[in-house]
């Protein structure tokens, strides 16, 4: 059976499996007994580019079940995983809804916006902080992965969220944005506006809920000081047309 390797961001872990990405995603979300649900975000990893994989352990553990079924998961690492994975090993990104529908995103060049606006970022690794920032995604990546600063991380994985009119005017209405504690978000944006020397303002220290996929703006980003990898999120038209089954599930919110 083929072996696959995945870097999961929910939570941070490295996993080996016999399941192909879409089946793995479904399994991550709903398990096998079908009494669980949960969103998942993971990357497929090219094992040939990771030189520290414990192959003896993998060969021993990644074997089919007694009934011949493919092994669903073998956890290989759960601590500082991203820090130790080379960025060139990252293949496609997969977003899984909490009922198990999977959307695959490929890397692509990032299209820089010329307009200077405020951005809202949701980090996943190393922590789940939500931050408002004047910096563009590549600038934000460089800023937070500068290890000469005390507040930094060797690598970073985050997504940009929509702000709509709030990106330019913090007094504007939230309208369709389902963010918790909207008044606090507005306060943070106003503060950012009044403090030009500050590039970032923490909005939520530790965001514990599932990501609302419909709030994703341009896409997901992973990288370090030298490397910036972008995974663009499909347009509304593509979501309605090509990926409708996934999109429908993404729009449902279990409470």
């Amino acid at each position: 059976m083929e072996k696959y390797f995945y870097f999961s961001a929910t939570p941070e872990s490295l996993v080996a499996s016999h399941l192909s990405p879409f089946k793995f995603g479904n399994y991550l979300a709903v398990g096998t007994k079908k009494r669980t649900k949960g969103q998942a975000i993971f990357f497929e990893i090219d094992p040939d580019l990771v030189d520290w994989l414990p192959w003896d352990y993998i060969d021993k553990k990644l074997v089919p079940y007694e009934d011949g079924e493919p092994k669903r998961s073998v956890f290989l690492s759960i601590y500082r995983v991203l820090e130790n994975l080379p960025l060139n090993a990252f293949l496609d990104l997969y977003l899984v809804t909490d009922d198990g529908k999977v959307l695959g995103l490929q890397k692509s060049d990032f299209k820089m916006q010329k307009e200077k606006i405020v951005h809202l970022y949701q980090q996943f690794i190393p922590n789940r902080t939500r931050v408002a920032s004047r910096l563009s995604p590549p600038e934000f990546m460089k800023f937070l992965t500068d290890t000469s600063k005390p507040v930094s991380s060797p690598k970073l994985f985050f997504v940009e969220l929509k702000l709509n009119k709030l990106a330019k005017d913090p007094e504007a209405s939230l309208n369709n944005l389902p963010y918790p504690n909207p008044d606090h978000l507005r306060d943070c944006l106003i503060r950012l506006q009044h403090l030009p020397e500050r590039p970032t303002k923490t909005v939520i220290r530790n965001f514990e809920e599932d990501l609302s996929f419909r709030t994703v703006k341009d896409g997901f980003f992973i990288g370090d000081q030298e490397t910036f990898i972008s995974y663009p999120f499909p347009s509304n038209e593509e979501l309605e047309d090509k990926y409708y089954s996934w999109w429908r599930s993404a729009l449902v919110h279990g409470f």
């Binding site: 089946k23 479904n26 709903v30 007994k33 079908k34 009494r35 649900k37 809804t97 909490d98 009922d99 198990g100 939230l174 309208n175 369709n176 944005l177 389902p178 963010y179 918790p180 909207p182 609302s212 419909r214 309605e240 047309d241 409708y244 089954s245 429908r248 599930s249 729009l251 449902v252 919110h253 279990g254 409470f255």
Partner: protein, 736 residues
């Protein structure tokens, strides 16, 4: 001339049924779409028919028992007209038949509508609306056919021309077939309402909340039951409800007409024929209105609403002119006043509809305020929704109050003391309101068809353009459904009032039957009569005095309290029933998720039929207690408290029931639309804290607007019908 005019009634009925059949054939010629679409539609069809079969078994048993009771009362104790057992059976049979045809058409139409949406919105509207029109025309056609058949047969046995008493006997006998229709409507509405909400709530609780599965997802085992419920509750249930109002209003008015002109057979005949002729012409104009519902290829939501309104409004306006013609042709006394009463009925229907729209549509402030209250959590959403619902009773109640007074004055020719004609005016107002039922029911019944079409489109994976079109139709259907519910409540109130008045005539018939075997009859206040001809000379107010029906009689107040309590008890029982039945559905869906491998990956097909069976069984079991109470309590009140208690019961039931029904329907509708308002992108949109709170409000409101609220319409009328049928027993035996 008069006899010839009667034939318009059965001819119109046959015309309605012919057009219903023609539309049905047109719909069946439409392509049902892909294999998957056909498969899904077949599942829903099977589930719906399985439910109907089960329901008819339970209802059949009830009918058997009640027919036995009526037969004993009629043939053993001679306390009942001998035709009553047959009238009861035919009323129930035709009501069931109307529900059967309507639902059969709806289940054939949903996939065809979804497939038509692949071409254009206008094509989809045509298919969906014509399918709704089948329901509408079958209801009015069968209703009027039954009425005209009974009138013809009874006229043979009791020739109207020979004795003014004969028309009294004919019309009061015909009134009893209304009880058959009421009983069948009760089971259809209550059972259907419990089914639909148990399936809907159950599917949502496990599907969306627990498993995160979207609406109408084929992986959800309860999704087919949810779609079946749309047909069972909103098509068959609504059809039976309005069939009963339609027949009840015509029959009650005919009975009042016979009583009002007891001195003259010619005028009496005209008065009896008038409501039937209005209904007959209403059928023709409804058919015309149905043909006017069409729209251009690239229609917007607004265009759709305009086209539906064009059909309904044209029929409503033309019925006024047609009624003018009929009344002038008949040369009935005070024909202008009667026309005024008809116009009053139509206007009351419009006002109630508009009021419902104002209080429940997200276009207006009341619903927007509920949405805004979601900012502070679920509790404030509930409070706000309850408050809005209660306030919303103001306009329909005032409309009905003003309508009653105007109709009374119009019918009485401005003379408040002319009670018989005044009450006739109220009855005719109800007939006026329901005269274009053929098309108004079509606009109502098309909603669940559009809803199912949307479900079919989702489950079949049809493209975004198709889904947009079915969403537009569905959204419009929700608007028309809310207005339709308001209309159903308003017509129920007027019909119940007309039935209350015709109860007096039934009491007279009951006393007349007693005098066939007894030498005299003594009223509760001591007044005695020896001959049934003396009954003719007693006017309504005197009759009420003899039975001591006044507010100083504590028995009347006792009856009022019991009647008011019945409305709340009935609501509580039906709402609790939804909770219990939904719980069983949730358990089954969870079991299937656990025990059927591959279900959430879409590899294994869920056991849809099991969920349908659970909802069916739940609905049948749970409907027994509230339905039995609705039948037994009026009988017991009549036996224990006599006529004053029975009238008190009807007054209390009507007063509390009508207002409670409006409140529940409007609260439920407002909560639903408040949630949709937020989902459209306000207050943070889907997934926001406000949305979560609004979803709770919507879930609470579901049984309000789809189960308990609509069931009250039937309760109000059924209690009147039972009291009417038991009038003979009430005058013969009373404990107090």
């Amino acid at each position: 001339m008069i006899n010839n005019l009667f034939w318009l009634v059965p001819v119109s009925a046959v015309l309605a049924l012919s057009f219903a059949f023609f539309f049905f054939r047109q719909i069946m010629k439409e392509d049902e779409g892909t294999e998957l679409m056909k498969k899904i539609a077949q599942h829903v069809r099977k589930g719906a028919m399985a439910y109907l079969k089960q329901q008819y078994k339970v209802v059949g048993l009830f009918f058997l028992i009640l027919t036995g009771v009526f037969s004993i009362l009629a043939y053993w104790f001679h306390l009942q007209n001998p035709w009553v057992p047959f009238a009861f059976l035919t009323g129930g049979f035709f009501s069931a038949l109307a529900g059967f045809f309507g639902m059969k058409t709806a289940t054939f139409a949903s996939a065809r509508t979804a497939n038509a949406a692949r071409n254009s919105l206008s094509h989809a509207l045509r298919v969906a609306f014509r399918s709704g029109a089948v329901m509408g025309l079958v209801v009015v056609g069968l209703g009027l056919l039954d009425i005209s058949a009974w009138f013809y047969v009874l006229n043979f046995v009791y020739p109207a021309a020979e004795d003014t008493h004969n028309l009294m006997i004919i019309t009061t006998t015909m009134l009893t077939f209304g009880m058959g229709a009421s009983a069948q409507a009760l089971f259809a509405r209550v059972g259907g309402g419990i089914f639909t909400k148990a399936a809907d709530v159950g599917a949502d609780l496990v599907g969306k909340v627990e498993a995160g599965i979207p609406e109408d997802d084929p992986r959800n085992p309860a999704t087919i039951a949810d779609n079946v419920g749309d047909n069972v509750g909103d098509v068959a249930g609504m059809g039976a409800d309005l069939y009963e109002s339609y027949c009840g209003s015509i029959l009650a008015t005919a009975a009042l007409g016979a009583a009002a002109f007891i001195d003259n057979t010619t005028v009496q005949f005209k008065a009896v024929l008038t409501p039937m002729l209005i209904a007959a012409v209403g059928i023709i104009l409804s058919i015309l209105g149905i043909y006017l519902v069409r729209t251009k290829e690239n229609a917007t939501q607004r265009d759709l609403l305009k086209s539906l309104s064009r059909g309904v409004n044209t029929s409503s306006v033309l019925i006024v002119f047609a009624s003018f013609g009929i009344l002038k042709l008949l040369g009935i006394d005070n024909w202008l006043g009667i026309l005024g009463a008809i116009v009053t009925g139509l206007l009351v229907g419009i006002v109630i509809g508009k009021s419902t729209e104002f209080f429940t549509s997200a276009e207006y402030r009341p619903t927007q305020k509920i949405a805004e209250s979601s900012d502070t959590g679920a509790a404030t959403v509930i409070i706000s929704g309850l408050g809005t619902g209660m306030i919303s009773t103001f306009v329909p109640v005032i409309a009905v109050v003003v309508g009653i007074m105007l109709a009374y004055l119009a019918g009485a020719g401005g003379d408040m003391a002319n009670m018989k004609m005044g009450l006739y005016g109220i009855g005719i107002a109800a007939v006026g309101m329901l005269s274009t039922l053929g098309i108004t029911l079509a606009t109502d019944a098309y909603g669940p068809i559009a809803d199912n079409a949307g479900g079919n489109a989702e489950m079949s994976g049809l493209g975004p353009e198709v889904r947009k079109r079915t969403d537009a139709l569905d959204s419009l259907g929700n608007t028309t459904a809310a207005t339709g519910k308001g209309f159903a409540i308003g017509s129920a109130a007027l019909t119940a009032l007309a039935l209350l008045a015709s109860y007096i005539e039934e009491l007279k018939m009951g006393i007349a039957r007693l005098l066939q075997t007894a030498s005299s009859y003594m009223f509760p206040d001591g007044f005695e009569i020896n001959d049934k001809s003396q009954l003719l000379n007693i006017d309504l107010s005197e009759f009420m005095n003899y039975f001591q029906v006044h507010l100083m009689n504590p028995i009347v107040l006792v009856g009022i309290f019991i009647g008011a309590m019945m409305a709340f008890l009935f609501c509580g029982l039906t709402m609790s029933a939804v909770g219990r039945a939904a719980g069983k559905m949730v358990a089954e869906v969870r079991r299937q998720f656990k025990e059927i491998p591959g279900i959430l990956e879409g590899k294994a097909e869920p056991e849809y039929a099991r969920c349908v069976a659970i909802s069916t069984k739940g609905a049948q079991l749970e409907m027994i207690l509230p339905s039995t109470l609705a039948i037994i309590v009026p009988v017991l009140v009549g036996l224990i408290f006599g006529v004053p208690g029975a009238i008190g019961l009807l007054v209390g039931g009507l007063g509390a029931g009508f207002v409670l029904a409006v409140f529940m329907a409007n609260s439920g509708g407002a909560w639903d639309n408040a949630k949709k308002y937020i989902e459209s992108g306000k207050m943070g949109g889907k997934g926001s804290d406000a949305h979560k709170a609004a979803v709770i409000g919507d879930t609470v409101g579901d049984p309000f607007k789809d189960t308990s609220g609509p069931s009250l319409n039937i309760l109000i009328k059924l209690m009147s019908m039972i009291t009417i049928v038991m009038a003979g027993v009430t005058v013969a035996f009373t404990l107090l």
